[in-house]
């Protein structure tokens, strides 16, 4: 499903901002996630501890190009990630501005084209724009990761109509809601709309109890997916009695 890989757990987890590596490790275990995202950075004080955790998690790694603002930076980062993590998977982020962290659609497509041609399995962090999505698919992307809301904002699905249109438009492309998810209910909503997976980070890492929140997210994503498969009833504007009228006593 994701470049030939099926996932049992449709929640993906970011690994940043946890109170400690131990809490992160427990959150991964409690949620049962199979994919975690990581970055490449200059070696810091907790680098070795983090590498150990990475090795023990048993998860598939989805390295990102977070922070890159040009196609060439992102392409170089992707190559470094491929060597270091031993995976062709790359979560391609090319942001247009350091404050908004909004995807730069032009640089994104340029980088995607270069990386797809070079054998990468590209997961582009994109908007709900349909034309941009098409250009990414043309470039060779077999997964799209539209934002729910700006990174770290916790606003949920800010443009529901746009996301619904995107889901309908890209029937055969796996779509992962990335960014902006703040609560399990929002993740469930995305899954109920037919999205294939949800990626969460800040909402889990910054929770009072990240381990419990990771488990809550996994359940919400699973419930939303089941609900989508079960088929939701269409909403109506007027009341429709659920209890039959037939056989009702004449008491007045």
């Amino acid at each position: 499903m994701f470049y030939g890989t099926d996932l049992t757990c449709r929640l993906m987890l970011g690994t940043a901002q946890y109170p400690s590596p131990a809490v992160l490790r427990e959150a991964i275990a409690a949620s049962g996630v199979e994919v975690i995202t990581m970055s490449l950075r200059r070696e810091g004080p907790d680098g070795a501890a983090f590498r150990d955790l990475l090795a023990q998690s048993g998860c598939r790694i989805l390295p990102n190009t977070a922070g890159c603002q040009t196609a060439s930076e992102a392409v170089t980062t992707a190559h470094m990630a491929r060597e270091l993590f031993g995976t062709p998977w790359i979560k391609l982020e090319v942001t247009g501005h350091a404050d908004t962290l909004q995807p730069d659609p032009f640089a994104l497509v340029e980088a995607a084209r270069i990386l797809c041609a070079d054998g990468f399995a590209v997961f582009p962090y994109t908007t709900e724009d349909l034309i941009l999505g098409e250009k990414l698919v043309e470039a060779g992307c077999k997964v799209l990761m539209p934002w729910g809301a700006p990174i770290g904002s916790g606003r949920g699905l800010r443009n529901i109509d746009g996301l619904r249109a995107m889901r309908a438009h890209f029937r055969d492309i796996p779509l992962v809601i990335d960014a902006g998810i703040g609560a399990p209910s929002q993740a469930a909503q995305a899954m109920e709309m037919g999205f294939d997976a949800v990626l969460a980070n800040t909402a889990v890492a910054r929770a009072v109890d990240p381990v419990a929140m990771a488990a809550a997210f996994a359940k919400a994503v699973a419930a939303g997916y089941e609900a989508f498969r079960a088929g939701l009833m269409p909403p109506r504007d007027m009341a429709v009695a659920s209890t039959p009228i037939l056989g009702m006593a004449a008491l007045s």
Binding site: G14, S39, T76, H79
Partner: protein, 65 residues
Amino acid sequence: MRIEINGKPATTRSATLAELIDEQGFDAASVATAVDGVFVPKGLRPRTPLAEGSKVEVLSPMQGG
């Protein structure tokens, strides 16, 4: 020769990237490298010369979303 490693000025006697990685005490197997913005695969480090002012990046897996 004066170069930059991860954004900090450094003086080195290393002629190649591979020598620099050793000299600076990095674990060669667990880092990825770039010189002047261009990715240098592990296998090419011994054949990648450094020059005055080279900007070397040595990166490791870190937390990310």
